[in-house]
């Protein structure tokens, strides 16, 4: 036991004295959270909108006022002609134009029907569609205001809600993904490298020659990284809650335990990698390439798994982070309890046991 503690202490010395390890360990989550939370957002905001108002009557004024008061647009009003609009699009000054024809108000009030034109930048179809939806929604709302529903014989009014995320916070989907990604990279890469480093330096020879149980070498290697990864997990949670305003709806304890399980899965994979190679570079490459890319692609937080061909969906079942992602989404965002995530937990548990068993079995008590 004393040997075990001394070993763990030594591992902590290694981590805290190596600035690169520390940087990967604690710099990576911060960078990822900031990147995914702020830079890589899929929300459409601050669209430059040019309004050309040929009517200048009460109705157009009111409608423009509504558009301006929504937070989606940066509105500029200009007496532009068609060429002017094309020019503004080409130069990137505007991504959307809204044109009211002359007599908009009188058409609406007397003819009962008025037209307006929306022009958007179709080179980015997703944004263009979103913009059209925004403006249509505002227009519909305004229409109901000026002409009460009573006049129409039949009407369907859809009441929509985005469950678990009423305000449409785009960070919400990324947080569980980033958690899975960061823990995956940090745990596998750092553990595999730290074991292989001993082989490369030749210290593994002495460790093996000592009376210390060879298997305990692996366990003692993994424990510091388990503790550090848990600290890392807490750091990510704190960043998520206080920087990105993502609340934790479910039980924090459950989330913590599930994350611990996932961390142990990753550590086992790291140990498995360390068995297969004797060079730090290979270990790092294997854990980065072998773990990061499948995690990014097959976890489901960047590319929806439902749209993938069947074979890829099968492959995704082998990726531990896919299951962890589901668990975190369920517990953290939806506030569900263990009874909803036991299947995913079981899968993770199975993967961990398998990886750990193979890693421990393959660990050599001799050099070859």
């Amino acid at each position: 036991m004393k040997q075990f503690l001394a070993f763990i202490r030594k591992e902590f010395f290694h981590v805290f004295r190596d600035k690169r390890t520390l940087l990967i360990m604690f710099g990576l989550p911060v960078v990822q959270i900031v990147l995914f939370g702020f830079a890589l957002t899929s929300e459409v905001k601050d669209i430059t909108l040019t309004i050309v108002d040929h009517a200048r009557d009460v109705n157009t004024r009111q409608l423009i006022g509504k558009i301006k008061s929504s937070s989606y647009f940066i509105v500029s009003e200009a007496p532009l002609d068609d060429n002017g609009i094309a020019d503004a699009f080409k130069k990137g000054r505007s991504r959307c134009a809204l044109i009211f024809p002359a007599n908009f108000g009188s058409d609406l009030q007397h003819g009962g029907k008025a037209q307006l034109q929306i022009i958007t930048d179709g080179s980015d179809p997703n944004t263009a569609k979103t913009v059209i939806n925004y403006i249509s929604a505002i227009t519909t709302a305004y229409q109901q205001e000026v002409s009460p529903a009573a006049r129409l014989p039949y009407m369907i009014v859809p009441e929509t809600r985005m469950l678990y995320n009423e305000e449409g916070n785009g960070s919400l989907n990324f947080i569980p993904g980033v958690m899975a990604l960061v823990l995956m990279i940090v745990c596998t890469a750092l553990t595999s490298v730290s074991v292989v480093r001993e082989k490369e330096l030749g210290t593994m020879e002495i460790l093996l020659v000592s009376p210390f149980q060879p298997l305990m070498v692996l366990i003692a290697k993994a424990i510091p990284y388990l503790i550090l990864s848990l600290a890392n997990f807490i750091l990510i949670l704190v960043l998520a809650v206080f920087v990105l305003n993502v609340g934790i709806k479910g039980s924090i304890l459950l989330l913590f335990l599930e994350s611990m399980l996932f961390i142990i899965t990753c550590l086992s994979l790291g140990l498995l990698i360390s068995n297969t190679t004797n060079s730090q570079q290979t270990a790092l490459l294997l854990s980065m390439m072998g773990m990061m890319i499948p995690t990014m692609i097959f976890t489901g937080f960047m590319f929806p798994l439902e749209n993938m061909p069947l074979i890829f969906r099968y492959i995704s079942n082998l990726i531990p982070s896919r299951w962890y992602f589901l668990v975190v989404k369920a517990v953290m965002l939806k506030g569900l309890g263990f009874e909803y995530v036991w299947k995913e937990t079981l899968v993770l548990l199975g993967m961990t046991t398998a990886a750990l068993a193979v890693a421990l079995r393959n660990f050599k008590t001799r050099l070859s």
């Binding site: 290694h14 330096l201 002495i206 093996l208 020659v209 000592s210």
Partner: protein, 304 residues
């Protein structure tokens, strides 16, 4: 009971393609300071790894203090000290942290066997808080020796401990080994330096995975079967080429400023000297000399 026993050990690598150790048998007595002498690639490290239970031999049996290296590896691991050829300490830990760690790992503590390492440790103690990676070569070696000794091993295996260490530190190091031997520890040490062979009680000359001779250094030198001469001239290179083609010369090789030669029967050194002078070599000087371990080694190597 011998401290170390090797019985017809054979070890190959790459599925038998590379023969590292070829049918080696030898014994090291209790309390002996035993040297494995041979050039790089002779198989010294393979033998060490077999004895320290890190490798299994393909054929043959190895035992340390009566325990079988294959079956009883756990017992052996608690009884031996090992210093691998490559500097094997944690570069990012300080001197004291390294020593502490290895002491604990081997189930001991610095204070428990302090007397054993005192003489060596005192020399590096001033650098207690320095990281091992920042020590000089000699100090690293001393620290590694401390770490290998800290649990009071019964048999100490040192694989090329003085390679890459300056002359003064090498001398000190061997002095330390002599002191350790007096405390009853069996020491098996390997070195590619022939001059260090003289400092061992018994040596094994090893080349190409085969043991060529095992005896005391003095006996090995005494076994040199013919007379050995040292010869030199102004142009040493021309002389060497001439000697190589001379029919009366049995063997010749450069050795410092001299060329060491042995002659065929019926030839005399005086005759050879005169012949060389006739062939235009200037200042030819020759003298009979006592063969050293290196001379024995080269002779055995050429015979094999």
């Amino acid at each position: 009971m011998s401290a170390v026993l090797l019985d017809h050990i054979t070890k190959t690598y790459d599925n038998g393609k590379v023969l590292a150790v070829d049918d080696v048998s030898l014994q090291v007595a209790e309390g002996e300071l035993f040297g494995l002498i041979g050039p790089d690639g002779a198989g010294k490290t393979s033998l060490f790894r077999i004895l320290t239970t890190l490798l299994l031999p393909d054929k043959g049996q190895a035992a340390v203090r009566g325990y079988d290296c294959a079956k009883d590896y756990k017992i052996i691991r608690s009884k031996i000290g090992y210093m691998p050829g490559k500097f094997s300490l944690y570069q990012d830990l300080t001197v004291k942290e390294n020593l502490d760690f290895f002491a604990t790992l081997f189930g001991s503590s610095i204070t428990e066997n302090y007397a054993l390492i005192k003489d060596i440790y005192e020399q590096i103690k001033p650098f207690n808080d320095r990281r091992a990676g920042k020590l000089s070569g000699g100090m690293k070696q001393k620290l590694a020796l401390c770490c290998a000794l800290i649990h009071k091993p019964e048999v100490l295996f040192l694989d090329e401990p003085t390679t890459g260490v300056d002359v003064v530190s090498r001398k000190e190091f061997w002095e330390m080994l002599r002191q350790l031997k007096q405390q009853g520890i069996t020491i098996v040490v390997s070195t590619p330096y022939m001059d260090e062979a003289m400092l061992c009680e018994r040596i094994a000359l090893i080349q190409g995975g085969k043991i060529m001779s095992v005896d005391t250094p003095a006996a090995i030198m005494a076994q040199f079967p013919v007379k050995l001469y040292a010869i030199k001239a102004d142009n040493i290179y021309r002389l060497l080429t001439a000697l190589r083609t001379n029919p009366t010369v049995e063997s010749s090789y450069a050795f410092g400023e001299y060329i060491h030669i042995t002659l065929h029967e019926n030839a005399t050194i005086a005759g050879l000297q005169q012949q060389m002078q006739r062939e235009g070599h200037t200042n030819v000087a020759a003298k009979p000399i006592q063969p050293g371990v290196e001379d024995s080694f080269i002779r055995l190597m050429n015979q094999a």
